[in-house]
Amino acid sequence: MLEIKRLSAGYGGKRIIHEISFTLDKGFNVLLGQNGSGKTTIFRALSGALPGTCGEIILEGTDISGLSVKKRAALVSYMNSEHTAMSGIDGMQLAKMAFYPSHGIFYTPGKKEEEFIRRTAEQFDAAALLEKNLNEMSSGERQLSWLIAAICQNTGLMMLDEPTSALDFNRTHDFLSKLQMQKEDKIIFASLHDPGLALEYADRILLLNEGKLCGEIIPKNTDAAEAEEKLRVLYPGIKIYENGGTFCVSACRD
């Protein structure tokens, strides 16, 4: 379990999020919020990338905010929403970097790690990307390569910032449904822009508005009317129908 108490963070002197507290359980947790609402700031604060972050971050009983960069990366992984296209580096090399926290500075990942990466990539139908250079990939392929690298890091808390922003329709659903296999022993915390995907795949949805949490939805225990009411805080005019046990989302402009 992840407990966050009175977390404040921002860039330079400017606070984007101010004293927010919440807890996350194992499973697929989704953060919904408008552009600029502070989703990325929360992820970066939790990953330790923002100097001047205040508050307690307690993962499975230990406060991780005082840990070294390396020890923290063994417990927490974070995938940025932008994916650097490094020239001359392929999917396999990228994924191998994920083993850095668990080994010494001179250790080079070998056969065992390669096998693990290959199996993970095959699970997500992306084995071909392991041999392809990142700067020669399409943006969707590149995103998938970074996702596979993040999954290979195999941490108790896995944060994915807009993991499906560049994926096509099929790959998005394929990825999110296969991600469900990972969630049994992990806290997955992801931001999405599509409330439909969130309602379909998430175990729990947190709503973020202007740096403050303004509600949560547990899709399993919620009906369409209740979900619509809560989501309207973020997306005025959103309409949610229930159709054969699944939620359908449409934007109503009138």
Binding site: L50, K70, S87, Y100, A127, N135
Partner: protein, 341 residues
Amino acid sequence: MKRSTDLPRVQRHSRLSAECITLLSFAILFILSLVSLNFGSFKIDFSSQEKKEISLKIFQTLRLPRILAAILAGGVLGVTGAVCQTVFCNPLASPDITGVASGASFGAAAAILCGFAGLLRTAAAFIGGVAALMLLLFFVRLSQRSGNEHRTRYILAGILISSAADAGLMILKTAADPERELAAIEFWTMGSFASITDKRFLIMAAVAIPALVLLFLFNKQTLILSRGSVEARSVGLSPALWQAILLLLAALAVAAVVSTVGVIGFVGLIVPHMALALVKKRGKAFLFLCFIIGAGITVLSDLLARTLVPKAELPVSIFCVGFAVIWFACIFTRGKVREGD
């Protein structure tokens, strides 16, 4: 399904060819060095007893150190260029962005004005190069207090310090006596292996080789840094610390080279592009290839510099830049310039 069974073969093929390319280029470098050993103002001749003694002495104290220095200098510039380009994920980066070359030029010019020669001049150039790097790290440290670490800060700080050192160099040039001192400064900033002796080579190697070995060992950290600061941190690598370590090693090696042989233009920028065009991937083979190609260019340039015009020594940079321009023109017109890095 068919695709995944093909994969291992494709991978083995590309790895094999990377090794082949490295071996082949090593063989070319070896032959080039042997040829280069046979050329020079003094004809090395082991046939008669009287000539044998002096030949051996010249070979040991001048000819061999000169070739070895050319190999090491080119290799250092190639490898450090690759490290800079990877760390900053920027195809325009080169060891020059550390400000070391400009700092060393300033140091050497100051030494020339003070009337220092030989090892004292080398020491002044080395101090100038290291001072430039320290200033760079200090500036970056200052700018990081405001929060976010970003690699463009290094590049901007490098430009700042290089420009300051260049301005200082101009002041020294204005103050210099145009007949002797200015000529010496100009010649120094164009690079030459003419003054290499066995002792000077050993001093250069004592600094450059350990730094180079560490850069090879830290290849994994170099690659991780190319992800970007936030992404490097997310796999457990402290970006500020490792950028400083890798840059320090690269700058020490370059300072050792530049202070001994002067500024050699363009090798650090162009060699990583050549190596990447050959092996496609930034692994260990890529770094070795950067060393070999860099060494090949400087050995060949030095050979041309001392044989093309009889009884005269041309600056090496002429040929290094010449090769770079020809190669760039070739790939540029064939439309193979890499974009989107």
